[in-house]
Subunit: 213 residues, 2 copies
DNA sequence: CTATTCTAATTAAACGTTTGTTTAATTTAA
DNA sequence: TTAAATTAAACAAACGTTTAATTAGAATAG
């Protein structure tokens, strides 16, 4: 039989760390926990990453780099109307934040502590860059007289905040939406389409220039 | 001069814990940190609260009990229209979550770890109870043909999520809104009214039966 | 093809701190 | 005099990290 050890041990450690950090927090997770979960010797973590802190940085950097260009591409796509861009934006973020909610969880926890200012700055920089790009989409829609004047920054906050709220207070919303908390698939199958529909409807009402000022 | 020791030591410890838990997380804060910040001997924490964990429970319980009846009162107030109730609801939650954001921070962090299931259940129960009450307000508005049919649960998520997003990613939104991060007063003075206006506008567009379906 | 060499991977054990909690003695105030 | 409040000291356990020894696997030489 093929030994599971054949997967790169570095990646094993990263996966174990992602899971445990999300469940128990950074400080609540010991390197011994991670080593045990990854079926790896304790010392391998220092060996590969240098320290527990550096392990977290590696995790964040790697998981972030995955999808930075997507927003730029969407933003610059001339074939899409401003309305279509908003819809695709919602689809993208709902999909991304629901399926990667463990990772977003870690980032939020890390962002709300004053431990490593480097990590916080990294997150701020990337998020700011993304938000500026979305701002551009809404401004374009306003220039074309499709969207009415709104508080753009807080509109972004409503889109991201709605998704973040449902995903990060998962237990609460499973209760509220009457979803089985334990079944990951049925959770996604209910929450993802429902979030997409709600947010598109919300933004249509909020942004449409035909609605009351 | 009046010695600051005259304030109840229990309360000193609670305040120090609230601040440090919010800044550094539960596991990131040592009881020695708390004792030092509260100008209290290390052993006083076990003496008063029994343990670090019980200290957190005391903190959450005490801070929660403060405002449970308010929602019930608002919900049952016959002199207010459904629209007015929504507005007051927004005012209340914006005010509450921005000024007590440290406490909400702790709760979020605690909610997203699987340490104490008791605390998580406590939070779930209270929040669920509150959300059900707000649901009632929207359902009433729909019965009176003031509000159109919407996804009520996710509408609640949008209200709470917007506020939570802005307050919990504070550094990011200070950047985005061009507010001085260090000055607490100017932060509140900008963010609170702006959140209120935005959310009322958002809900007016979203809920008004006169807008497109 | 075997034997040797060398580097990277892996390990168990130990390091010095820091952790939350307890103890036993002392001070305070009624 | 008595009980509560407060203290410094000590406790064992857990922490992140390092060490020094061993194994594995490919490269090199005969």
């Amino acid at each position: 039989m093929t030994p599971p050890d054949k997967i790169d041990k570095r990646e094993q450690i990263l996966q174990a760390a992602e899971q445990l950090f999300a469940e128990k927090g950074f400080d609540g997770t010991s390197v011994r926990d991670i080593a045990h979960e990854a079926n790896v010797n304790l010392a391998m973590i220092s060996y590969y990453f240098g320290s527990k802190e550096k392990l977290l940085e590696s995790l964040i950097e790697q998981r972030f780099r995955i999808s930075i260009g997507i927003l730029e591409e969407l933003s610059n796509d001339q074939s899409l109307s401003a309305w279509e861009k908003i819809d695709r934006l919602i689809d993208y973020y709902v999909e991304r934040m629901v399926t990667n909610r463990r990772f977003h969880n870690i980032m939020n926890q890390e962002y709300n502590t004053d431990r490593s200012s480097e990590i916080k700055d990294l997150i701020t920089r990337i998020k700011l860059q993304n938000l500026e790009r979305i701002k551009g989409i809404i401004v374009d829609g306003q220039r074309q007289k499709l969207f009415r004047p709104v508080d753009i920054e807080l509109t972004l906050g409503s889109i991201m905040g709605t998704i973040a709220q449902v995903t990060s207070l998962r237990k609460l919303y499973c209760n509220l939406l009457q979803i089985d908390n334990t079944d990951e698939a049925s959770y996604s199958n209910v929450v993802i389409p429902r979030l997409k529909v709600h947010l598109k409807q919300l933004m249509r009402a909020h942004l449409d220039i035909k609605n009351e000022a």
